[in-house]
Assembly symmetry: C2
Homo-oligomer: 739 residues x 2
Amino acid sequence: MASPSASAESNLDIDYVLVYRFSPQDKNKAISNFQNLVRALADVGLETEVRNGEDSTLLVFVKAADEKIFNEVVYRSRVRDWLHGARQAQPDTGTENVLTKEPLVPAERLRLVYDMITSEPSEGGAGITPKHGVWENVESIFPLHDVRLNKEWMTEWARKTFLSPQDIDSVRDNLGEKIAYYFAFLQTYFYFLIYLAAFGFSCWVLLGYFSMIYAVVNCLWCVVFVEWWKRQEADLAVRWGVRNVSAIQKGRREYQYEKETKDPITGETVKWFPATQRLQRQLLQIPFVILAAIALGTLICTCFGIEIFISEVYNGPLKSVLVFIPTVLLTTLLPTISTFLTRFATRLTEFENYETEDAYEKAMTSKVFVLNFITSYLGIFLTAFVYVPFASVLVPYLDIFSLTVKPFAENEKQMQTPPAYTFTINPDRLRKQVIYFTVTAQILSLALETVVPLITRKGTTKFKEIQSSRAEAKGGAAPPPSANDQPEEKAFLARVRHEATLGDYDVTSDLREMCIQFGYLSLFSAVWPLVPCSFLINNWIELRSDTFKITSECKRPIPQRADSIGPWLDALGFLTWLGSITTAAVVYMFSNDGVGPSGRPSDIKLWALLLSVFASEHIYLLVRLAVRTVISKLDSENMRKERAERYMVRKRYLEETGLSVDKKTRHSLRTSSASSGGGLTKDITRKSLEDEARETTLRESTPVTRFWGRQKGWAEVEQVGVNLIELKLEGSAETKKGR
Amino acid sequence: MASPSASAESNLDIDYVLVYRFSPQDKNKAISNFQNLVRALADVGLETEVRNGEDSTLLVFVKAADEKIFNEVVYRSRVRDWLHGARQAQPDTGTENVLTKEPLVPAERLRLVYDMITSEPSEGGAGITPKHGVWENVESIFPLHDVRLNKEWMTEWARKTFLSPQDIDSVRDNLGEKIAYYFAFLQTYFYFLIYLAAFGFSCWVLLGYFSMIYAVVNCLWCVVFVEWWKRQEADLAVRWGVRNVSAIQKGRREYQYEKETKDPITGETVKWFPATQRLQRQLLQIPFVILAAIALGTLICTCFGIEIFISEVYNGPLKSVLVFIPTVLLTTLLPTISTFLTRFATRLTEFENYETEDAYEKAMTSKVFVLNFITSYLGIFLTAFVYVPFASVLVPYLDIFSLTVKPFAENEKQMQTPPAYTFTINPDRLRKQVIYFTVTAQILSLALETVVPLITRKGTTKFKEIQSSRAEAKGGAAPPPSANDQPEEKAFLARVRHEATLGDYDVTSDLREMCIQFGYLSLFSAVWPLVPCSFLINNWIELRSDTFKITSECKRPIPQRADSIGPWLDALGFLTWLGSITTAAVVYMFSNDGVGPSGRPSDIKLWALLLSVFASEHIYLLVRLAVRTVISKLDSENMRKERAERYMVRKRYLEETGLSVDKKTRHSLRTSSASSGGGLTKDITRKSLEDEARETTLRESTPVTRFWGRQKGWAEVEQVGVNLIELKLEGSAETKKGR
């Protein structure tokens, strides 16, 4: 039992905290909505407590106290899992001791309580949807952090190189499978990176850049990693008992149906929306992608052009400063356009009107991936496949960018593009760019993700403190929310109020970041073999900083189930495929240290380029097939366990039906039929056979009964057969003699 | 009830006929083995009758007569299906009236009886394995043809253009799903061919050969067809209730395990064979494929070289005769080598030692496909991609083949290869070859399949008759097997004896034939747009001739279940993919009517060829993705039904558990908690709140109980919350005033 002093760290059995924010303008509405909330929670059997919150908020604490009701919820959920195939064994009937037989981990408990709070009343929940409809005053629903566990994670993991499977399990037990999949992915990726980093480093030392050997190993590594992760994913799903949970589709509340029909067979109410209409709406993705490509592409190309113009054509004053123009342009405009396009993508996905959360997420992910693909890789693609082969052709046209430096140039000559034949490309440009994206940008994003929010938050807290102390000085301050707190609850409530101000953690954006990072590796790592080393170091920190983000900078996430990292898996597969093409092209074009096969990039033969790409891609496809086959053959402990469980279920069921024809009944079958036949000892000759037949003809009437009545019982069949054999053998013996 | 005269057509309720062949040398063994057979059948509850057969054979007739036992078999099978997910609804318990509730179609009855005869005693069967171990005397097990239905099929289908879904269902009901899938595939293929044939004919008239428009439509058609068939397959599986039956794996009797271990969890006996060892054995496929490619390739290349030498270099006497040398060589040697390689492939597949029939079949199919791929397409590939681009380079080397015509040539000049620059290729060669393979060879194979066996069989019957009448004339003939027949059974038994002499029908070889045919369409149809027309006509006949083969030239097949056409589906996908490459290459190379882009085939640009291939392949991949997406969105009657059924099962189960928290219990929850709270009417001010708190502190001891004890019941929570809101609003009003 927790001692009274531990109160700030303990969660006091609280499952969820609801932040109720009311508008000071409408007192009656504030009160009646609050009453509705408390009653709705009580209706589904949840116990509540209310405390004061910051500003115009109340904190409603919720716990599933009634054991009988919660047991029923658990049992129902297990039955649903079983019916959808997410669970092998049928749950034992009787709800009294579900929890003692198969205890719940915290994440499962939180998931089920969340379901009680949010699922539709028709499904047995309170139907509370934060910021939506009648529940607009409910600002958020969140569970409380497990402070001790969070501290343990932070301190322990900082000392470790690898997380153990138990660490990942503990993430799953406390934050749910969706986040645990992210950690498992990061961990597997990190583990795989060690080998590639070691190999990449050796290649860098021994073979230099654009090494074919490194390129081949890199591609192979990508294939093996992706295929292995697929298997790992399935394995974890079995380990965590979430296999097939994606089959349990969660309906989207925003889904707008055209009409409600009754299914003619089941009587189920179906919310119908025509698939053709959705297909038409999905076709809007094509103009969207074109729009995004044009918008982002133009920006990136322009900046690229300006940069080349300034760094390689312009040679007037202030060159070292002016060279940053494009970077400034990119860093200011790119996020703006991206944000705009993402918002547009969200709108579009909403317009496509998906029925389930999964379908929505998948559609959204594919759009986000396209946007990220353009912003992340287009620059390098331009350098590798436009600047290098065509620079001498394109450079003369760059003088349109002279406008950007006109105010600084002293004369026209400083901005004159050189004639095509004298221009030489800068072979280091590609490598520098790759290094920028795989080292500098990674460090920057890490900083942006963790350090900046930390500083911002500290700043705001300070600002608020100063503000409130000023107001106090003026004398007219509202009492702080902690004014009414019980002394022993003060520390605890302060923590809750702090957690309520934190943002939500979004695992998808972290996953996206990792996928984009993987893309640099699969697409361009041949340019600079140290890429995996950089990522190795980065990802060690990434995992810890994500842990810090989840535990300290965000509200504790609401546990969600998952049986995969979802649509990002397809993105990984696509990047690996594309990698087989770009790597081959890059290695061919830059073999001989970045200046083409015969020393000059203009000597690139299109047919040789295409042939290397074609060969590389098809080798990739073959290798993928082989790797898949081999990996699918490998067995794992968890898979074995699952098979065993399935076998047990079947065996038990078949034993229960008790239908096996066992030896005893069999023997009795034969003896009874023998005795009914009766002719066992009778000597049956051809004569007696005919007698029997005649007899039968008299007795029976249809051909069928006559046919089957000739020999009665197995013993007679046996006897007749033996006689026939003997007759035949005699006959053949006679024939032989006769000859 | 059947009239006595109908006896030859009726099957007299017989389920199976076993042909028991004994050796005249060992009488005792013949008798004891026969006794064992009859007893084993009686043991599992099968009724038997015995009759005389041809030569040294007996005919053992089997029927599942005991209703109780057969009901149990049916019930057990349904439970097994349900446990493996091949069946949605759990079968009703109680075996008495399984058959009245869900009657069996003939194919299912036959399948189950066959299981009773052949499955292992441990699984409740008689364990009879024809020609194997102790059952070596059992020559064959076969069901009897349904004569009336066969006649109906033959006459009705000959008058129809399309089979109706009911016709396919009737195949399924009588011959099982595996064969029905073949018919459904043939039918779908035929239906799709109509469109392509019409388009191909118009293209032939309007656009000539090597039309890009035709090529694009052809590729698209292939993609749509393959994707549609996948869907159709799934749809039929639902319609026939065989979805997921492939999950019910049938063990192979020939499987050799290294050791038998007990599973530590389930106690199940596992026949263990190391997967790594199998993988090593599978690696032998690589040398096998190389061997096959070399053996078949050398033969085909040699014949190809000789043919070109004779037809295009040699101009001595007998040219018109000598030109057939390669054809004669091919037609004699190719089948020999193929048979040898197939036998080798079978050995190899057996050596790979698969545990299940499915895995074995899959491995065997892939090998057979490779062999067929080489023999069917290599010749055309040589013409298109070796002869056309490189003929002028290679022709001078052809003089090694002058040996073949040396005896006939009058002087050296007649066999002299022309110098490279004067040699012109024969642009019609490719087209002629495609026409040969898609018209002539199809007709030949049709004839070989149906007409030849008919003639052979008629011949043998005649020969036997003549022989026996001669023997009779000599006086020493053994009595004919019909000597002892009951007069009314004579006609019937003659039919059975005839059916016993027929061969087995192998649906795989027919499927293979169709896949290879599809390959010509996807790979080379751009060469000659009339290919689909030829196949359209051919396949109309093919379906009827296959029906004839099944009903008249083979034993009635033993029904097998399937939920797909199996590994051939992959072959179709592969051929479509490859088609996107070859079609692009062929169209590019032969654009401008067979002589390359600028009039001469030597003007083929490698980069342009590679670029067209690369583009075509990736467009194919994109189109396939789009087609898949669209087709997956389409709903069908059967799918809807299946979903409805699944929903019903879930609904029923959840209703049975009766766990939904309904309005009534909910309301009682709230009222009970309100009354226990009791403070509903009490006016709670800040003062009274604190009193309450102090009171609680005295009563309880842990922080948790103290925290949750502050407000008792939902009503008090509501009251406290309302008070807090009021306090806050007052506070903020005061602050405003203060300012």
